[in-house]
Symmetry: C2
């Protein structure tokens, strides 16, 4: 028999989105499709302002996260399911929606314009940038096929899934060491694979890591391939000192070699910090009036779904205030 349930907010809804229109002047145009973008969309639509959204894909990095256990309201939920719920929450509104194309350029002015891969120019009184970051990838065989199946990029999100497992952490900076510390508390063994002859992380983190007896560090090593049919089973590491390869049996590999903010479309428009992130204040305002930003693409520390969602709500309310006071 089919199971039924009476939980709130989960019944099928009518999809009310409309196509984004290049002849409409929007109040708020959201660029991006991750948690910050979708939350901003809900808040703008509830405020009753004319809202549009352009995104290449929906869910951002959440869509490639296996299980989410730190989003409040769900003790555990597949990344893709959480994305689906966010998306349905947006689709209940008549928002101008364009998916499948990338926004390529923002043109500032009293009326702001967004150039899009679809050949159109979209216009809005204000813009919210939520283009996120992309993980810097190893670009080795097996990596993309096994992402979310043992290949992970976020230890805060995924470390608890590797309790009593053998894992590799790639990298030697702060995020790699933090990942290794989080994993060492849970995993059977942690093997760090570092390209350089030393770690580059803060001393205090290196000291903390040295307390764990289940951590091995392979210096001057890199990754050649990730193996596994449906999940990660082994990883081939390469010793750069003697040019030898060795295949380690592991169930997980955390790739912690940095993140790249997706800011190409606003280069020379808004101020960026030394990491290339869009500098915002606590109200999600960028250096340019009417241009707001939220989520991982910004200078706000910690890249988390719940944080991005909160920032998206803030950006939306700030943009609505801006539109109301700049008529």
């Amino acid at each position: 028999m089919e199971l039924t349930f009476n939980l709130p907010g989960l019944e099928t809804i009518e999809q009310r989105t409309v196509p984004l229109d290049s002849s409409t002047l929007y109040d708020v145009l959201i660029v991006g499709g991750g948690p910050a973008a979708l939350t901003a969309a809900v808040y703008c639509m509830r405020k009753g302002v004319k809202t549009g959204l352009i995104t290449l894909d929906i869910g951002g990095q959440v869509a490639e996260t296996s299980t989410v256990e730190n989003y409040m309201g769900y003790r555990h939920i597949e990344g893709i399911s959480l994305v689906q719920r966010f998306k349905e929450q947006v689709q209940q509104f008549e928002i101008g929606f364009l998916q499948g194309y990338k926004a390529t350029k923002v043109i500032d002015g009293n009326i702001k314009k967004v150039e899009c891969e679809d050949g159109n120019l979209y216009q809005s009184k204000s813009i919210i940038l939520t283009t996120g970051k992309r993980w810097r990838r190893l670009n080795v065989p097996g990596e993309s096929e096994l992402t979310g199946k043992g290949v992970a990029y976020c230890a805060i999100c995924d470390a608890p899934l590797f309790k009593d497992k053998d894992v590799i952490v790639v990298g030697g900076g702060n995020s790699a060491i933090e990942a290794a510390i989080d994993l060492a508390k849970l995993a059977t063994s942690v093997t760090m694979v570092q390209l350089l002859p030393a770690l580059t992380a803060d001393r205090v983190l290196v000291d903390e890591l040295s307390k764990f007896t289940n951590v091995t560090i392979l210096y001057e090593h890199d990754i050649k391939a990730i193996h596994g049919t449906s999940v990660v089973e082994a990883v081939t590491v390469h010793d750069r000192k003697n040019n030898k390869e060795n295949t380690l049996s592991v169930q997980g590999i955390f790739i912690e070699i940095g993140l790249v903010p997706n800011t190409e479309l606003v280069k020379n428009i808004v101020s960026l910090n030394e990491h290339g992130e869009i500098i915002i204040d606590c109200s999600c305002r960028t250096s340019r009036p009417g241009i707001f930003a939220a989520g991982d693409v910004t200078s706000i520390p910690y890249k988390q779904i719940i944080i991005a969602a909160g920032e998206g709500a803030k950006a939306a309310l700030s943009a609505c205030d801006y539109v109301l006071t700049n008529k």
Copy 2:
């Protein structure tokens, strides 16, 4: 028959909280029990630091919100149900938990202490303040009995519930006018009840409000009583100019006369802004090292569940960083 369901994260869990212990030195002690507090608790416990939580009650203002429609992941959910889910998410961890008593005083130092109504002094290396705000209440008959049943305090949260209804908004400042604007778009009629002979809101908001033909403003009026058996049915207003009373048939009353931050326990310890809110930076740091704050009690604009939750996560990660780097 009993309905069953296979949705993720909703099965019954073992409750693993332990009593808060005055002889333990915690890494992070969270004061408060709203969305910011509960999110901070989950993040701290997942980071593996020794965490405690003191709160008079659970859920903060969410517990008294009828339906929540702007928390991402749920299109609509009762405030109390959302609180329950947050709470269960915390209870899966061995967190030191004290509910039912108010924290009365924070004592700063290298080791921080929190004085509690239960007569104990609890100790921690860091503190996260999430004590929230309380709505300024009218203190008239019917108000507390009908809260969440037509008596509302948050237009962003609850306005959509009053579509095609007659409502009153009490107040004349920015938040009252914003509430009236949000409501005027949906409700049949909006009656503003303002104590003073004029509105005190920003000009732009007053101009915006004047565009609506379904809004009436009663100047120099106050509220005498709110009536209704299970939901709001009528409100008695009092004309201060002629001392006459009049009972209006309405289904909702939004009380928008301000919020009071709950900062009594940290007066003279952390810096407050002109509204009495705890000043924090974008990483939730207060003016005192090792004391963090998140949610409505802080200087961050916009009081929303999703924003408070995001800020709680940030405060937790900042506090964990502080504990790790200040050993």
